[in-house]
Amino acid sequence: MKLRVITVLLGLLSFSGVAFFMAPASRELWVILAFLCFGGILVFDLYDQIASQWMNPIIFLLIYALILSAVLEVGVEGFWRDFAGAVFLVSLLFEQNANQWTGFGALRTTLTPALIFLMLVFAQSLPSLPPEVSYGFSLAALIMASYLELFCIFREGSASNAGSFMSALRVACVGVGALFYCSVFVPNLAHQMPYNIMSVVLPGIAVLIALFSAFLNHWRRRQTLFFCNWSLFIFWEALSGEDFRLYAAIGALLGGAWTVMMTLRDEIDPENYKQLYLKLSAWGIPGSFLFTMIIFGISPSQDELLRRGSALWVLSFFIFWAGLRGFKIPKERPSARPSWSWRESLALVVTLVGASLLAGVRILPTVFSDIWIRAGGIK
């Protein structure tokens, strides 16, 4: 186990180092962002999922390498090739770690959306396609990648995908890919007809998925769909073309990828408030890292469509929160869990600090300037 962890860690560091020194100045921040995402997934792996078998660390490193090369590509074709490879490997990881399941439905495997995603990527690269059609396929591909787990949601055992490292990897890959594509290759797409309508279409899809999730029995399945929507939320923020929303998307990406890994999968002990807090934080309720990112992401805008989109996002998140009305603490105390480790403590601190960002990022400077003015510092 230790050998696998050390391998992943060394691979992560060496890939990051090489990519950072090879990257042009404009791409260095993207390398750092990818490192933070994947590094966080490794650090917050509370249940040692990545190191459970050799195939996991190998594919993990392959995905990381592909994402790094995607953000270092000069042309859009190269980006899509690397990104599609990463998404396909993520879907393969879902199957690699899945429990046995009955049935042959092609729509019950994550490989199906990955294949459709690949075809959409091929389609968008057809040379004779006009750019607006090509963009359409690109956006459809990103939506498809956001909902990889939706296709296997009815499969037995699929509930275990919630809080899994595959889910976190999907959030990280799609998040980095969507952010990079929207801000580097198509920064003004949101202001062009007919793509500006995506400001409403994307949250509309999220509301539909949230409504669908309201009918699911298992909270873990609902949480899987919550994080699928979270990927779409990052994509929507990146597509908006507003600077502050792009920064919010970066925060949402880190918050989303890390929080998936911070989710505790055990039964709740009502006396352990820290566990309960971590568990509830994964739903983005007030006082969590994700809630801070939601507030940053839906900040009021001058754009009418973005405003409508923000309202739809609030609605979709509320539908998920409404699932809390069925919350019940088990009557029997859960069997003793391994002691609270440093990973859980770190997760708790990160979540709390993330929650505090709501005030810290924007508020403190204003407060200090207020004090300064009141004290007569500025005449």
């Binding site: 009918f215 298992h218 009021p300 069925g326």
Partner: protein
């Protein structure tokens, strides 16, 4: 945005607050919060609508602390968030502060209760958020003034009145009145105090009529708080004077008679001023009708026997607050016109009649029963619709068409359709 400084200070200490044996360290966020509130209070010292509400909240908290002789950490933090919501000029931040205030109240319920109550505390998070949804949509969509006031009124109805839909805090009688007042009265006042009602002068009369309608099943404290909001939308100064009697709502005592008198005065003021904007006949009719209906909850109120010391303490607090406001605010004694007199006469007559017939248990005067909370209904209970079982196809008890639809979703041939659609899209793109 200043007010959210509290979040930066408190939330890292969130996990300390719920511990029963937290000791002195748990009071660190409370002390920081008091310091912050004082600072913001100082910032807004020239704006009476800002500091007035906080002063009332402080008086209510003092009343509760003197009665119970204790205050818990989560409850104090919650009160501080509500205090911050009263000090902020931005509706968006008010909503956030209310959300955090609700959260800490739920922590208080969670910590000090049995397992079933603990479940309720978590379930309440969603119910609390549900109540602020309308006004949140108003902020996000940039709805215009009158539309926004309407959305804010919906939120106010959801948070302030226990009828027709129950408030999340009032489901169980175990919740003390102070809790209810924080959640309902203070949070609604926080939402109202940042609005400009001058562009909609008919609003106080409209709100009075809405309050009269909702009073059919509500408690007297809710009706009184709503009347204060009506007066506030007429004139913030009079609204604040009305709010000075909120400490009397914390406990059920003989001071209810004093509150009834102030409620009567509030209605008189609203009718009188509205008669200058709307046609007099309309105001006479509306005033008389609302007065008759509004008197019922006041007349039906069950008064508890309290120690005269405690009773006097609440009245003393309110009177001191009233004197303080009269001294610092530009209060003018209004002239009472005929419309006000009609309201006063109808209210008093109705009050005396209902009070004298109350012991007869006439159904006519009983409060209407409310609806069940839609969030508690089984309409959307997960698992009812989809039976997540193993197997190649999902077993559904739905109708024919839904079954066919879900079967199609599960079918492999659906993939062929998807690929076909993709082909058509590419073909269309190539054209």
């Amino acid at each position: 945005m200043n007010e959210l400084l509290l979040c930066a200070i408190f939330i890292p200490l969130l996990f300390l607050a719920p511990r029963k044996n937290v000791g002195a360290i748990g009071w660190v966020p409370v002390i920081c919060g008091v310091a912050c509130t004082s600072y913001f209070f100082w910032l807004h010292v020239g704006e009476s609508t800002m500091w007035g509400g906080v002063t009332v909240l402080l008086a209510m908290t003092v009343s509760e602390a003197l009665e119970k002789k204790s205050l818990s950490v989560p409850l104090s933090i919650s009160a501080l968030f509500f205090a911050q919501s009263l000090l902020t000029p931005s509706t968006g931040i008010v909503i956030l502060c209310i959300a955090f205030g609700d959260l800490f109240l739920n922590i208080e319920i969670f910590v000090n209760s049995e397992i079933s109550e603990k479940n309720r505390a978590i379930q309440n998070i969603c119910k609390g958020l549900f109540s602020v949804l309308p006004v949140t949509f108003g902020v996000l969509l940039g709805v215009g003034n009158i539309g926004f006031i309407g959305l804010m009124a919906v939120t106010t109805v959801l948070r302030l009145f226990s009828w027709p839909l129950p408030r999340w805090i009032s489901e169980k009688q175990k919740d003390p009145s102070y809790f209810k007042l924080l959640v309902s009265t203070i949070s609604c006042f926080a939402l109202w105090h940042v609005q400009d009602f001058s562009t909609f002068p008919e609003w106080p009369m409209i709100w009075l009529a809405i309050v009269a309608l909702l009073s059919l099943g509500s408690e007297y404290a809710e009706v009184y708080a709503a009347l204060t909001l009506a007066v506030f939308s007429l004139s913030p100064v009079y609204g604040l004077l009305g709010a000075t009697f909120w400490p009397l709502l914390v406990h059920r005592g003989k001071s209810a008679y004093l509150v009834t008198l102030v409620a009567l005065a509030s209605g008189v003021l609203v009718c009188d001023v509205s008669s200058r904007i709307l046609s007099e006949n309309t105001v006479y009719t509306l005033g008389a009708l609302t007065a008759i209906i509004l008197a019922r909850p006041f007349a039906f109120y069950e008064i508890e026997n309290r120690l005269w010391v405690n009773e006097s303490k609440d009245i003393f607090l309110s009177l001191v607050l009233l004197g303080f406001f009269i001294y610092f605010l530009p209060v003018k004694v209004p002239d009472i016109g005929p419309a006000g007199s009609v309201f006063a006469g109808s209210f008093l007559l109705s009050f005396i009649v209902v009070r004298s017939l109350r012991s007869k248990h006439l159904k006519f005067f009983s409060p209407f029963r409310g609806l069940k909370d839609p969030l508690d209904q089984n309409v959307f209970v997960p698992g009812v619709k989809f039976n997540e079982r193993a197997g190649t196809q999902i077993n559904l008890d739905e109708g024919y068409y839904l079954s066919r639809f879900y079967s199609a979703l599960e079918s492999e041939s659906y993939l062929v359709w998807l690929l076909g659609l993709l082909g058509v899209a590419i073909y269309w793109g190539l054209k």
